[in-house]
Symmetry: C2
Subunit: 113 residues, 2 copies
């Protein structure tokens, strides 16, 4: 098992996912783009999203998404992988994520990863 | 017609309501409570909502809600009335407001005005 000096990645359990945290996390264009991208595939490495922000800013956005319960992250040897917690969100807030993404596609157009 | 020294109340037209602005407006507990309260009645005077914040803070929250397109406000002689733009939101983002309010009721419980 590899050792790492990164802090452990914390995720809220499904029952503690907070609606206002989720709405706040989704209210930013970079974070919405990350969520929209992840909705189309099972998992993706953090540096490969179609967003144009500094690495430290991107790291903050991933933290907001993770702590809100929208995404789950795990470490691989040389990279951090992210996946959307679609099933957890559907269990907690039925229809919410799908409705928000449909609204986003309606106005911003779907992403082309 | 009465004269007033208050600035004119501006509202985005339906086609310009921005999803991220709406999500941001809904991500605050006071603003969510205002929206939830307005979902249950046609119109309400600003000082009568079941929220416990200073008048200047409340005024800010109403401004965020109005400028996001979530509510419409109009002046009466001695008070400002607010109403939810439910039809406009349904036209712009079908199902969004209902889904968010259902999620809020699911976790916070419906308000009792």
């Amino acid at each position: 098992m590899s050792r790492t000096n990164r802090r452990a990645l914390t995720h809220p359990v499904t029952e503690e996912i907070d609606l206002l945290d989720v709405l706040h996390a989704l209210s930013d264009p970079t974070r919405m783009t990350i969520v929209r991208t992840l909705a189309a595939e099972p998992e993706r490495a953090c540096g490969t999203f179609p967003v144009d922000v500094a690495p430290s800013t991107l790291s903050h956005h991933f933290k907001v998404l993770r702590e809100s319960g929208l995404i789950r992250q795990r470490e691989e040897v040389n990279r951090r992988m992210s996946m959307l917690r679609a099933d957890d969100l559907q269990a907690r807030f039925p229809g919410l994520l799908a409705t928000v993404l449909a609204a986003w596609d309606r106005t911003a157009g779907p992403v082309s990863p």
